[in-house]
Subunit: 216 residues, 2 copies
């Protein structure tokens, strides 16, 4: 007897999330409050769209390119491979060649030492995170991937001049999901639902990201 | 040969969305802009969490009750029944009795005349929408439903004193999704993924909501 088990790989969204240098922290306030005599509680959110678990759209680094509403659902939903890379500092083409990734993989999530940062969900932004090099991005495009996910706030190493990783991936129409918490997930194949807010024209959006498989 | 077909039943999120009386319109601005010389585009969102397609948490009308992060994934994911009610003005227990809803239904989405309002996604808020009466809410709880979805901004008729529909549903732990666009969906059974932002302690959150089934 098997049971479907869900894994929520979304970082809890609070006003203490680490944010990219220069971006504001999310502000979460109450427009209406039962404690103040209103008939219900109504929360207000003010935040950059690249805080917490989120996706990027092509217009993030390609001016005039499509926004979040254009990401195709059949890229965001379907089988996904979780690959562990505990030793890697940069995910290069050579690292990917050595990783025994199944050839039919269309969606790939990299579990690295980054995930441990989510042990403290209110930690300060850490620039020394593991990410995908420009030649690693080319490798993913050449292999026909449709979605790539990483366990910190950017798919690209901090301070990369010209942002070649983003431009290679976004230029190829690849869906990018960033800020995943993969601590509880073993490597292997899962079903993925990676669903961002459908903010028209936006370069990014908060996303809720879930894996599931039958276990037992 | 069958093909999986996805239906995005999420209203596109813009700063022209109709909003509940007293709630502000969403504001969507750019923190960073390539046209202004930044290396990338970064959008900022400022909005009430009950704008557009969204979910409610128990704390929306039950002060001190759980927030969005507590909604169980196995209620938000799974088979869902789309039921059309083109004639109804209020979804009462009697209307539900007459609707031939399969007895094993755990997730139900009501397609009403409301959906036509989304022909103009920038229409003014319309208070005369179809919603679930207090005895209709009791009917859904008695039948063991886990999720209910409606095609306008509230599951409860406008101006209901004391909000009995919300309190009945939220008190029973029912997941509520509001602001769906069901125009393109025929009645019947689908798979549902209804994924809100995981805003800790919040009474609501924007959600991306998708149906799929095999067709062909």
């Amino acid at each position: 007897m098997t049971t479907r088990r869900y894994y929520d790989i979304t970082v809890p969204y609070t006003d203490r999330l680490p944010t990219w240098p220069g971006d504001p922290r999310p502000e979460i306030t109450r427009l209406k409050s039962m404690a103040r005599g209103d008939s219900g509680n109504v929360t207000h959110l003010s935040a950059g769209v690249h805080a917490g678990t989120h996706m990027d759209a092509p217009v993030h680094f390609l001016d005039g390119a499509p926004g979040m509403e254009t990401l195709p659902l059949d890229a965001l939903m379907g089988p996904a491979q979780v690959v562990t890379m505990p030793e890697a500092d940069v995910i290069t083409a050579a690292v990917l060649d050595a990783a025994a990734i199944p050839p039919d993989t269309e969606r790939i999530l990299f579990k690295t030492r980054n995930s441990a940062l989510w042990d403290d969900p209110a930690h300060e932004f850490t620039p020394d995170f593991v990410a995908v090099s420009a030649d690693g991005a080319g490798w993913l495009v050449d292999r026909g991937m449709r979605l790539v996910g990483v366990d910190y706030l950017s798919v690209e190493p901090f301070g990369s001049p010209g942002h070649p990783t983003h431009k290679t991936l976004l230029g190829a129409g690849m869906a990018i999901v960033e800020g995943l918490d993969l601590r509880a997930v073993e490597p292997g194949i899962y079903e993925l639902a990676c669903l961002p807010m459908k903010i028209v024209g936006s370069d990014g959006a908060p996303a809720r990201v879930v894996l599931w498989r039958d276990e037992g």
